[in-house]
């Protein structure tokens, strides 16, 4: 019944519009409106550009002032890339504004008038060189500043950085820390099963035995942190918005990203006056129907607290002793390794 009413309503509305349209068309023909080169609408359209200019830019500047952005970056490189972003944004806003002043005012100023003739102005080499060179120079400056920072960000991680592994799978993240020996054990994707989710290869690398897999990420403030990123099934992408960190996780091709966190979770909570604040990690490469749900919490600790946390973690192998003994490894002193 509702459907019928809606359909009837739509048909009636369309019929009404058609009728009004037809009447207006006939009135126009009767008035001979099409004999003239331009009608009154030419002025209306020209004026609309001016109106849109003021309302549009007004809304733009007003809203930009009150919009909610992300909190200031919590990583060293993030502060620089944010500065680059806002500098670039300032430059392009000026360009956007100036070009639109011209683009929206010219139509109004130079709208058609029967008595006027347009100005014959096919080219001006000087002008064209000028506006090729100026964007060229601006681009060059932006490229150079960007390149310098890009090279720093993508340079190899410092030797003493805290390393851990992030593995993406449909549809959650898993992390693995190297444990006491500071070495992530080797993995082999054929060793993956329901228990050994990361495919740690205990047979070929004993460094695996002290590796631990916490449910949330902990990192120390002020120290370089190196992410070893991989994916198990399809592409994922590690995205830590507050740290301005992003890097794809690719099956078969380990990737990496390093950064230095600058604010602990506690400091952020205080700064934002929000006791519930947490750093978060998300996925930004579409990976299937649960793509939007790959959340993991990141905790930034003071370095001492971080070290404390590391020592408190129990190695995965110790938690899964049945699995390890099921592997029937030779020449391995399990009790010694799991101590």
């Amino acid at each position: 019944m509702t459907g019928l009413l809606i359909t009837a309503g739509i048909i009636l509305t369309i019929a009404l519009f058609a009728l009004v349209y037809r009447i207006l068309a006939l009135v126009n023909i009767a008035k001979g409106a099409h004999e003239k080169r331009v009608g009154y609408s030419n002025t209306v359209n020209a004026f609309m550009f001016i109106l849109f200019f003021f309302v549009g830019f007004g809304a733009f500047f007003w809203y930009s002032g009150k919009a909610e952005y992300l909190p200031a970056p919590s990583s060293e490189h993030g502060i620089v890339t944010d500065d680059l972003f806002w500098t670039t944004t300032a430059i392009i806003t000026v360009a956007f504004f100036l070009t639109h002043c011209l683009l929206f005012f010219f139509p109004f100023i130079f709208r058609f008038k029967e008595e006027r003739k347009a100005y014959w102005y096919p080219d001006n080499t000087k002008l064209e060189i000028l506006w090729t060179v100026i964007p060229g120079i601006v681009m060059a400056i932006l490229v150079i500043t960007g390149l310098i920072e890009w090279n720093k960000i993508t340079a190899p991680a410092p030797k003493d950085s805290v390393q851990f592994e992030i593995v993406g799978k449909q549809f959650n993240w898993m992390v693995r820390y190297p444990g006491k020996d500071n070495k992530l054990g080797k993995y082999d994707y054929t060793k993956i099963d329901g228990t050994n989710q990361l495919g740690m290869d205990f047979a070929s690398d004993k460094a695996n035995f002290d590796d631990f897999m916490p449910g949330e990420i902990h990192i120390p403030k002020g120290k370089a942190v190196e992410l070893k990123i991989r994916a198990r099934d399809v592409l994922h992408s590690v995205y830590m918005p507050h740290f301005r960190v992003k890097m794809d996780a690719v099956p078969g091709m380990p990737t990496t990203f390093w950064f230095v966190p600058t604010k602990t979770t506690a400091e952020m909570r205080k700064e934002l006056k929000n006791d519930k604040f947490n750093y978060e990690m998300a996925c930004t490469e579409v990976c299937g129907n649960g793509h939007f749900s790959m959340r993991m919490i990141i905790v930034v600790d003071e370095p001492e607290a971080f070290n404390q946390w590391v020592t408190e973690q129990e190695p995965w192998a110790k938690k899964n002793q049945d699995y390890i003994s099921g592997l029937k490894l030779k020449d391995v002193n399990l009790t010694e390794l799991l101590k």
Binding site: L147, K246, A282
Partner: protein
């Protein structure tokens, strides 16, 4: 007959064509309108198919905007159409959401803005504006449309199957797209996507080869390359880009088909999925991304250049001024064409690609901004001291320039790899490309339809409806895409079904709602256009021969040109196409086929020098014509 036909125009059907003896017999309906070799009919076929796909692509975006703007809404009302894609709670199914996003992209980029835009206007305008009777090969041209049609049928079928269409994003990155177990849409839907795109590419190549051949070989007498309208330059370069880049997508798709069906490992390596370690090793997921974007980036210009060409023509005509810096416009299009091939990896800064490559591509990417900026400045200068007539086409062209700038400038932020780390795959990117390539190209297409409708159908579209259509769409598009910048700066990722899982992305429910409302209004406004379009085909005011007082050759044909375009001999060209408001001239336009010898009062010094040669040419032509008749 409608009352608006009162204005009787001169000659309606001067159909026969002395130069084409074969055309004398009447063609059957099927040969004339369906399997037609006439470029004008083929253009209309592309246009109507494009409109059909645009409606579907647009409605898809409304559906997923409902989810994003009103996540709590009960969509039970859509169950009769969407069936099982509405969950028991009355929400959009998550798989279907991704399928909608994917198909919206695929349909808009390929079926609307490539086939619908290039297919329509390259076909329609190239022969008419260069003074040719048809394309170099009418038969290949017909095949080009029918391959596209077959591709459309396959893609449309994929919308209706039980597992739904492809759902890995329009970029279909493997392994997601290669593994049916990874996603519902990676099964039959993906197979159909690949088959459809293979057919599409064949059609596109047949078309492009024809466009290039025609422009090179079939220009009328006197029409040198430097006298070509900018539309033709744009279509010509677009076709070249298509010929060089689409085959790469074809091979990418072919290798993906092998990986999916024949057990190869081009893109697959060390994958564990669904409780099973796959045997595939040694492939590279990044290889696909390189191949894809080798087409994918030039594709942006395949979509954009024709729109810019159309705009150049319309802005110049309606500002009653020559386009400013014709040679600079051609030069920047050439530069864009060339550079468009060497910027593709800027889509891949954070994919794990070697960072050094990232630096190189960042440099090249920011270089392409320079010719783009030059084009924008030249459009604006063309408006300066013009005598501007606001036809709907002109409004859409100005709208295009606005989007080209507002969407283009954010490319400068995104092209900077250091800044892109944060912005990559956020709504900032969505805002950027929807403005600069989506909306700009779409406005170019609409401008083209309004401008050349009189030549296509012999009738005028209603301009008042055109104004309403423009203002709702123009303002609405800004309401849709401008807020996305804020959402992107706040870090919201793309292709998310919902953001509420994350504290960081729990803001901006209000902006998302605003965007969705604007999207629905803009979509609804397009029906004004569709009504105007179809109503005017049958009932529009009869078009004068040259309604916009334009210079190019298509306006020298009869109101409804038959197959062969000109009833008599093809006009020769004596000047460039932008002699608007020339000092000393009687009218504010001088068509290209008016000899310099007839406009001595307005000729420039160097043009007067050409008159002697021109008169010789005219004499020779007359001589040839006499011989021909004697024969």
């Amino acid at each position: 007959m409608s009352a608006s036909d009162i204005q009787i125009e001169k000659v309606v059907d001067v159909h026969h064509d002395e130069h084409h003896d074969h055309e004398h017999h009447e063609q059957s309906f099927i040969r004339k309108y369906i399997f037609s070799e006439d470029h004008k009919i083929i253009a209309k076929q592309f246009l109507i198919s494009g409109i059909f796909w645009a409606v579907i692509g647009g409605l898809f975006s409304v559906l997923f905007r409902l989810q994003l703007g009103f996540p709590e809404a009960n969509l039970e009302i859509l169950r009769p159409i969407l069936g099982g894609w509405i969950t028991e709670q009355g929400r959009l199914d998550q798989n279907f959401y991704l399928a909608l996003v994917t198909m919206h992209g695929t349909i808009m980029v390929f079926f609307v803005l490539t086939a619908g835009l290039s297919g329509t206007f390259s076909n329609f305008l190239i022969p008419l504006q260069i003074g040719a009777r048809d394309m170099a090969s009418g038969f290949l041209n017909m095949l080009s449309y029918w391959f596209f049609f077959a591709s459309s049928v396959v893609m449309f079928t994929s919308l209706l199957i039980e597992t739904g269409p492809a759902s890995g994003g329009w970029v279909i990155y493997p392994p997601l797209s290669a593994l049916p177990k990874a996603s519902l849409g990676s099964g039959l839907g993906m197979t159909l996507w690949l088959v459809s795109m293979a057919l599409f590419i064949v059609g596109s190549l047949l078309g492009s080869i024809n466009y290039v051949t025609t422009v090179i070989n079939m220009r009328t007498r006197g029409l040198s390359m430097t006298r070509l309208p900018l539309t033709i330059w744009a279509f010509f370069l677009t076709a070249i880009i298509g010929i060089l880049s689409f085959p790469v997508l074809f091979s990418a798709a072919l290798l993906l088909i092998f990986d999916r069906s024949f057990g190869t490992s081009f893109y697959l390596d060390q994958i564990y999925i669904d409780g099973e370690a796959l045997h595939n090793t040694g492939g590279s997921a990044l290889l696909f991304q390189h191949l894809f974007w080798f087409l994918g980036h030039p594709e942006v210009y395949i979509v954009l250049l024709p729109a810019l060409g159309i705009t150049s023509e319309i802005v110049s005509t309606n500002a009653r001024k020559p386009i400013f810096g014709y040679l600079a416009m051609v030069g920047s299009m050439l530069a864009i064409t060339f550079i468009s091939f060497i910027v593709w990896a800027h889509h891949m800064f954070v994919t794990g690609m070697n960072p050094f490559l990232g630096s190189v591509f960042m440099l090249l990417t920011l270089i392409i901004a320079v010719p783009s900026a030059v084009k924008a400045f030249n459009y604006i200068t063309t408006l300066w001291r013009g005598n501007i007539v606001f036809t709907p086409a002109m409004l859409f062209s100005i709208g295009l320039v606005s989007f080209f700038i507002s969407g283009g400038v954010t490319g400068i932020a995104l092209g900077n790899s250091a800044i892109d780390i944060q912005l990559h795959d956020t709504y900032f990117v969505v805002a950027h490309f929807h403005l600069v390539m989506g909306s700009a190209a779409f406005f170019g297409m609409l401008a083209g339809v309004y401008h050349w409708f009189p030549k296509m159908f012999g009738r005028m579209m209603d301009d008042k409806l055109g104004y309403v259509h423009f203002w709702i769409t123009f303002i609405g598009v800004y309401f849709i895409f401008f807020p996305m910048h804020y959402i992107g700066i706040a870090g919201f990722p793309r292709r998310y079904y919902s953001w509420t899982n994350f504290d960081a992305f729990s803001t901006y429910a209000d902006l998302n709602m605003l965007i969705s409302i604007a999207a629905i209004i803009v979509m609804a406004a397009q029906f004004i256009f569709i009504f105007n379009f179809f109503y005017s085909i049958f009932n529009g005011r009869l078009a004068p021969e040259n309604p916009w007082r334009s210079n190019t050759l298509e306006w020298t044909t009869p109101r409804l040109p038959g197959h062969g375009n000109w009833p008599g001999k093809i006009p020769s060209v004596y000047r460039w196409p932008y002699d608007y408001s020339k000092p000393g001239a009687k009218e504010d336009f001088i068509p290209q086929n008016v000899p310099l010898s007839e406009t001595r009062e307005s000729n420039l010094a160097h043009e007067n020098e050409q008159i002697a040669a021109e008169l010789e040419m005219i004499e020779e032509e007359k001589h040839n014509a006499d011989n021909h008749h004697g024969h």
